[in-house]
Symmetry: C2
Subunit: 402 residues, 2 copies
């Protein structure tokens, strides 16, 4: 192979080339390699992983199912995992028949499959601003025309969205095909959309005829307060596709997520997710859940994450200068910190790493630009004491800039 | 949710809707549920799966790597699997740097990702006729304009392809963007393309500027004869993307495949495969391979499949009526049987199931119609004695039709 020749480059699609050029890999690498307290990535803390239980589950699956667990299609435990998703959905008011649920290779794969099912290149997609940067990368590969709806302390500002949709119609711009939202403990702001906003959002979806992609990756990890109903539970005309994941409650390495939605939508998602999911891991996690592993782990996980969140918020209170403000999430992994407008958190990152902490700059969570003076902190990965040290280092970095 | 309402249906993309309508699920179900000798699907035989070794590998991975094996990105064994792919490629003359290989969730996912990287809707894609029906389903979701090249006893008939490409140019039809080929033990015909044809194919790819997707799912399972060089090993200007899988040599349930190609192409494939691969399974299979499991299993697998192939060919010789002809593959899982032109193997399937055998009708392997009088037999799944009984049942079914 001649390294200078790259006949293939001219054959790549335009959206793929554009996405490759937008890659933020350099910044990621710098953060991942930093010798500092990690408040940047939404990684679960390592002790949360059920290694012993998964090891037992592997042995049990092979003993009970033999080679079927490794064959195309898998055995009963691979399907048991789908039932677990249905059972857990039912407790939140979502009645999902067998043809209204499908598994995916993680939530990001689930998001991608939903996009493939409904988005043609150039279709309009609404996202919260700010929103999950991993999803933004996916949307780019689909060549979607991404427009934004602002987020306030109660998640997506649905009234502002209504104004924008009406203004688009007034000037003849196309209506959206899809809207992406993280209604619970939003990534990156940690905010949650109340029930009335959820209902109003679905009214807009009906009025403008768009589908809604509800990403509830963190819904199982609520530490205080009462949950609002999932959008899918309020969905009267079958336009919500709800995605979830075992990455935060079992482990990211099992790469298992799911999609719940109208039967036609689920069939479409299966059509564009060729090759299926990993039946070996499905079986192992299915057995783990069947033995009660997930249900008994969740209270401990919530306690551990609540403790981390409390330590983070307490440390912010004690160390941060008075000009900084931040959100107080009822669940999930993230706190959004807003600094005075003239602070550039992208430029500040190297100094923060030198001081001993990492975060993600606010601009990463926008399709174009925005919130250069904000940053996301994750309390999910580090020990509580390390979180405290990290906030001290952040405060040290911020103070001379105010 | 109201079952009658399906707002989402109107929002699905046109290629997805078309693919959903073309679904052959009914036929699949009938074959899968049949109480008959299974000569239909390319399933490995159950005893080939290394259950004990994988169980040991799970324990070893957790002991050596702890929670990192379950974290985003995984640990050293997850990356070890990539090295295994590189080492095995090197033995076939393919020099793959770290940025010239990526893992996928099985070969079908790998095929899909390559399509996403290079195919815009309406782009021309060349396939062998007949070809792997799973790939045809993938191509449909991309809205590709699928054109065919015939297959003879030496795989794709490259001279016929040259004629068709020239004729297309003469009449102003667009050149292809991608060509899909299974050069070794082709699915479904079992035929293999000799080295001179492979070189000629790459000359055509350069002349007409298309990329080549080389699917070598069965390349490790050669039972006689000498291998021809992989297309990727002959690829001088970086237009070949080579995909492979551990589904046939470890187990389908581990859902692990790979793509080898030019660095720009691999980066594009990674861009359109969001969410990554299953680091847990990657680690387990990485450890299995690292401990020598795959290398020591391969000779036994080849012996077992060679024995099954020989039993199938021998049974065909002894039982089938003289008007039937079939291929004699040097590897892989499949034999292609050609019956007289007036036999319709789709219509014959129910009688075959009644007689006690399943196969796949030839028409399944064409984008439109073709080879209604042919059928594919797979010798991979059943025991040798069952294979013999299956062929007897097939011969019984065929005989009154001749």
């Amino acid at each position: 192979m001649d390294d200078d020749a790259a006949a293939i480059e001219g054959l790549l699609t335009a959206p793929v080339r554009a996405t490759m050029e937008e890659s933020t890999y350099g910044a990621w690498r710098r953060i991942a390699d930093a010798d500092a307290v990690g408040l940047s990535f939404g990684f679960p803390f390592p002790d949360s992983f059920p290694q012993a239980e998964l090891t037992d589950a592997v042995a049990a699956v092979f003993e009970e199912e033999g080679p079927q667990a490794l064959q195309y299609g898998g055995g009963a435990y691979a399907n048991r995992l789908t039932e677990v998703v249905q059972e857990r959905a039912a407790r939140r008011g979502i009645d999902a028949d067998d043809d209204e649920v499908t598994l995916a290779n993680g939530a990001t794969h689930a998001i991608d499959s939903v996009c493939r099912a409904v988005l043609d290149p150039g279709d309009v997609l609404v996202v919260e601003a700010p929103t999950f940067m991993g999803a933004l990368g996916v949307f780019r590969t689909h060549g979607a025309d991404v427009v934004t709806a602002p987020v306030d302390d109660d998640g997506m500002d649905v009234d502002a969205l209504a104004d924008r949709l009406a203004a688009r119609r007034d000037r003849g711009a196309p209506d959206p095909t899809l809207l992406y939202t993280i209604p619970n403990f939003q990534n990156p702001t940690g905010t949650t959309m109340p029930a009335d906003r959820r209902r109003r959002l679905l009214e807009l979806a009906a009025e403008y005829d768009f589908a809604v992609l509800e990403d509830d990756a963190y819904g199982d990890l609520r530490y205080d307060g009462d949950p609002a109903p999932p959008l899918r539970a309020l969905d009267e005309d079958g336009r919500v596709l709800r995605v979830g994941t075992f990455s935060k409650t079992v482990a990211p390495g099992v790469r298992l997520g799911w999609v719940l939605g109208d039967a036609a939508a689920i069939r479409a998602v299966d059509t564009v997710a060729p090759g299926g999911t990993n039946t070996f891991t499905r079986s192992v996690v299915g057995r783990y859940c069947d033995a009660g592993g997930l249900e008994s782990a969740l209270p401990d996980l919530r306690d551990a994450y609540r403790n981390r969140r409390d330590r983070l918020l307490d440390a912010l209170d004690r160390h941060m200068p008075p000009d900084a403000i931040w959100t107080e999430p009822e669940g999930g992994f993230f706190v959004w910190v807003e600094l005075p407008e003239d602070v550039d958190t992208t430029a500040m990152l190297d100094d923060a790493i030198d001081a001993g902490v990492t975060y993600l700059p606010g601009a990463m969570f926008y399709p174009d630009d925005g919130s250069e003076h904000c940053l996301r902190l994750s309390f999910s990965y580090e020990d509580p004491d390390a979180i405290e040290r990290g906030v001290e280092a952040l405060a040290e970095t911020v103070r001379p800039r105010l």
